[in-house]
């Protein structure tokens, strides 16, 4: 009985922490319509700052609390709202998700810069660890009791705020229709700002309370993820109801302590399962959520993409393969390995383009599916006992097939979910994969086979061998992988231009209208989900072969989130967006760090400077993600807009291409190194539109389609072009064909 009471009390304390974290999340979601992935990172910053104030600066506890809860919390909320969240109006969910994810990544790298992660920091309990109280024979520390009391107080206060105060009603009105709120004489910006200030203070409060309860030292990533676990609690209340959120938090807290306390000893997987528990609960809650009504009204969003016609895409595909292989010939074999990792990331990013860019569904964890594919391919397609093992085609196919099927299975029950809920389901899935599969290092017996799912937490992925193609050779690998990417990219463009692609676009724009037109949304969604996770799996297997030695971290959820973020930054509606994002995520950042590391080795006196540059680089990546709020179509979209003017000045365009080839030849002749080549090429193509404008000012300036024919003569050729761009099949068009 005593142990039962102890477990219950401890479970309630843990639940209280979840409740505090989740209530802040619910508050910002109901009052701004933005699901704040960075909530955990804000809690983490709060925890570190409290430590800094209390332990390093030795301020009295009350003063440290004032600094953290009175200044840092509201200040951070106000800054976030004013600088970032305010700009997210009229954007699609993926943009909102990516921006808050970028804030998360930025805050984590910022904290690791300020607080060296190598030092251990043990945060103090409020009232100290020695002040205890006995309740029904259970000894609890003041700090633990305080957590429960605060959670209860917050529950009451938030309920009162939402239902009984004017500001609470105004906050909800601000999400509903900010324009209408203005017409009533209220400034929606000021109202949302106060909501963010309260939400951020709740996050910081959770951060201060949590580590002493969970034990251990302050750790940026762990703290950030802990609040991700609170998502499950928030989902209990559909991100709206505070009381249900608290129920969810208590279920989670009790569940995890009872699991530790009462699971039989022979269940070796319980440790992993306990880690995965919040994600499992999140997944189950998502499945049981009541039906969401289809959204009928079209929302005006600011994202715009154009898909190229197939012949042009084919031209680019060939240019892409030639360019990649030519560049691969210039760099050392070790660097080719990095390039290969980048290209496999590009394949994974392609799955995001198909799913999110074209179909408007979200998968935040493509690498979770990559992990599944890798594991299956490894177990099916390679012989670990061989001296020089190779991966068989069967393994590759099996891996891709299982990834596709898993994708469909994850999506199947989640099909009626849309947007954010589906995104969270994929996140939960990847959490379960990394906690249950990628940590499972004990032997298991299945169908009479005994094997270890993830031996030693690390597997060496053998290269693929199909007939004469042996990917152990880096050049062959590069050929195969760039051809694979180009082919898949072309296929994706062809798919978008087909009637299937138009159905996907219709589903993205208005599911209700698409359903009314007799489209089977289920089949459509399931198909595109399976296709996209299959591609992610394929990319994942190639990535594992390129990395060679993979561990759980390779497929971590921050890696997934960074990749999705970069794809959106580059342009999630474009195949080229996937290419650039993959190269940056898989190769760009690594290469820059390698280069910096080399210089730091040869010039030890600059070490500190390079250390700063290294951190700046990480923070800058996040800042770029935050910039998406301003240009949600991605930066490649702007590049294409500018390059479009070039088409009217062919002389400059072909001149540019000639200079590019000349540069490549010069590089082969050893006149300039690969890094310089890249740099000069980028400069060349960004300057070309300016050259074209100078050359032929009236022709090079692209005109918005809406103004064609209004400020310029309305000719037959123009009307045909508009029909073509809008893909309207007219009689004139048929006559031409």
């Amino acid at each position: 009985m005593d142990t039962f009471l102890t477990y219950t009390a401890l479970g309630l304390v843990v639940g209280a922490i979840y409740a505090i974290a989740a209530s802040g999340l619910v508050l910002t979601y109901t009052t701004s319509g933005i699901f704040n992935f960075a909530h955990g990172a804000q809690a983490m910053i709060g925890a570190f700052t409290f430590y800094q104030a209390r332990v390093v600066w030795e301020l009295p506890t009350w003063l440290a609390l004032v600094v953290v809860l009175g200044v840092l919390g509201p200040g951070m909320g106000w800054l976030l709202h004013t600088l970032i969240m305010r700009r997210l109006r009229d954007t699609e969910i993926v943009t909102r998700v990516v921006v808050t994810v970028a804030v998360l990544l930025g805050l984590v790298s910022l904290s690791q810069w300020v607080w060296n992660p190598q030092e251990g920091r043990v945060p103090p309990m409020l009232f100290g660890a020695d002040s205890t109280v006995d309740l029904l024979g259970v000894t609890l520390r003041y700090h633990q009791v305080l957590c429960v009391v605060i959670a209860a107080a917050i529950a009451v206060a938030l309920w009162w705020l939402f239902n009984r105060t004017r500001i609470g009603v105004l906050m909800r009105a601000a999400v509903d229709d900010p324009e209408l709120l203005k017409l009533s004489g209220h400034d929606p910006d000021r109202i949302s700002a106060s909501a963010w200030m309260i939400g951020s203070t709740l996050a910081v409060l959770a951060g201060v309370l949590v580590t002493p309860v969970m034990g251990g030292t302050l750790e940026a990533n762990a703290l950030t993820l802990l609040v991700v676990d609170a998502f499950a609690a928030a989902l209990f209340g559909r991100l709206r109801s505070i009381p249900l959120t608290f129920v969810g938090a208590v279920v989670l807290g009790l569940g995890s302590t009872y699991l530790v306390g009462y699971a039989p000893a022979e269940w070796t997987w319980v440790g992993n399962f306990q880690r995965a528990l919040p994600m499992v609960v999140l997944f189950v809650v998502l499945l049981l959520l009541p039906h969401e009504r289809l959204r009928g009204t079209a929302t005006r969003s600011r994202e715009r993409y154009q898909t190229p016609p197939l012949p042009r895409a084919a031209l680019w595909a060939v240019a892409c393969v030639i360019g990649l292989v030519a560049f691969g010939g210039l760099i050392s074999e070790a660097r080719v390995g990095t390039l290969l990792v980048g290209l496999s990331f590009a394949v994974i990013a392609l799955s995001v383009v198909l799913l999110t860019g074209y179909a408007g569904e979200l998968n935040l964890a493509p690498l979770g599916f990559a992990a599944v594919a890798t594991l299956v391919a490894y177990h099916v397609g390679s012989d670990a006992t061989a001296a020089d093992p190779r991966l068989s085609l069967t393994g590759l196919v099996a891996g891709v097939a299982v990834a596709a099927i898993t994708g469909a299975l994850v999506a199947l029950p989640a099909l009626r979910l849309r947007g954010l809920y589906l995104a969270l389901a994929t996140l939960a899935f990847s959490g379960i994969v990394s906690a249950m599969l990628l940590r499972d290092t004990t032997p298991r017996t299945l169908f009479g086979h005994t094997f270890v799912i993830f031996p030693n937490g690390n597997i060496l992925m053998p290269p693929l061998e199909v007939g004469p193609l042996d990917l152990a050779d880096a050049t062959t690998f590069l050929w195969v992988l760039s051809t694979l990417f180009a082919t898949l990219g072309l296929g994706v463009v062809a798919l978008r231009n087909s009637s299937y692609g138009r159905r996907l676009a219709a589903m993205k724009d208005s599911p209700a209208a698409a359903a009314m037109l007799g489209q089977r949304l289920m089949v459509l969604k399931l198909g595109v989900f399976a296709l996209s996770t299959g591609i992610a799996g394929l990319g994942g297997i190639f990535m594992s072969m390129a990395v060679v030695s993979v561990s759980a971290e390779t497929f971590g959820f921050t890696v997934s989130l960074s990749l999705v973020m970069l794809t959106v930054v580059c342009g999630i509606g474009y195949v080229s967006g996937a290419l650039v994002a993959g190269l940056i995520a898989g190769a760009g950042i690594t290469s820059l760090q390698l280069v910096l590391g080399d210089i730091a080795l040869t010039h030890p006196e600059y070490r500190d400077t390079f250390d700063i540059v290294h951190h700046l680089l990480l923070v800058a990546t996040a800042l770029v993600g935050i910039g998406v709020a301003n240009g949600p179509s991605g930066f490649l979209h702007d590049v294409f807009e500018r390059q479009r003017g070039l088409a009217r000045v062919p002389f400059v365009r072909w001149g540019g291409a000639a200079v590019q080839v000349a540069l490549l030849l010069a590089a082969y002749a050893g006149l300039l190194g690969p890094a310089l080549l890249l740099f000069v090429s980028v400069v060349l193509w960004s300057l070309l539109p300016a050259v074209a404008t100078a050359w032929a000012p009236d022709r090079a300036r692209p005109l918005p389609l809406e103004l064609e024919g209004i400020t310029t003569p309305n000719t037959l050729a123009l009307r045909q072009r508009i029909d073509r761009e809008l893909r309207i099949e007219t009689e004139a068009g048929h006559a031409r064909a």
Partner: protein
């Protein structure tokens, strides 16, 4: 000319959405206490004119005056504070708030919730029965009543109504316009945009006809009826 300046005045107003100009020099005077009908075909720029008057869309050229004061460049919040009350096109309610909460929001700084509730439920008893229902789950007519209630308790100086009749049954339209007539009788200046001129002709003192972002005629409502039918029929 009386000594009173017009309640609303636009002089040579130009406005644009992005690169595309929609109002090409609109001149409009709404005398204090008058009911003016703004008529015109789809896309003429009636709603845009309304949005210019309440500060939602900025002017790119020209001037805006409220009661003789030059307020060009005013924000929507400030205009609402000056007593410009807008019932926008479509549903002018917060769908995820209850009827009471809607009234609480629209009370703004000019009235208390109790005043708002009294005024609204007295005029539209159906709203009183549904005070705790989500506004989004009410019928279109009930939502429009709720939207119009905003003008009832707050004593605005100017009331802008954009297509009050949109999607409503004729009986409800009549009921709504009876309320508007009541407000006008209290001395509130009203500017209303309508597609269907006949509905508003009995109330309006003056009618203004807009076509393609310009005011093409101003006159007594009856005189404009004829011009109107030729405009609609593509004359």
């Amino acid at each position: 000319m009386t000594g009173h300046p017009p309640a609303l005045e636009l002089v040579g107003a130009h406005a644009a959405y992005g690169d595309i100009e929609v109002l090409h020099g609109v001149d409009l005077r709404v005398p204090a206490g008058a009911v003016v009908a703004l008529l015109g075909p789809n896309g003429a720029g009636k709603s845009t004119t309304m949005k210019v008057l309440n500060g939602q869309v900025p002017l790119t050229a020209g001037r805006l005056r409220l009661a003789g004061r030059d307020v060009t460049g005013i924000s929507a919040v400030a205009a609402a504070d000056l007593g410009v009350c807008t019932i926008p096109e479509g549903r002018g309610v917060f769908a995820n708030l209850t009827v009471r909460e809607n009234l609480l929001v629209s009370a703004g700084r000019r009235a208390t919730l109790t005043q708002m509730e009294e005024a609204a439920y007295a005029r539209f008893p159906r709203l009183g029965d549904r005070r705790n229902q989500l506004a989004g789950s009410m019928s279109g007519g009930e939502q429009q009543m709720l939207a119009l209630s905003r003008a009832l308790g707050t004593h605005p100086s100017v009331l802008l109504l954009d297509e009050l009749s949109m999607g409503l049954a004729p009986m409800v339209v009549t009921e709504m316009y009876a309320v508007v007539a009541g407000l006008a009788a209290e001395g509130i200046t009203v500017l209303l945009a309508e597609q269907f001129a006949r509905i508003v002709l009995p109330f309006a003192d003056t009618a203004v006809l807009m076509v393609n972002g310009r005011v093409v005629r101003t006159g007594a409502p009856a005189d404009l009826e004829e011009a109107l039918s030729t405009t609609y029929l593509g004359g």
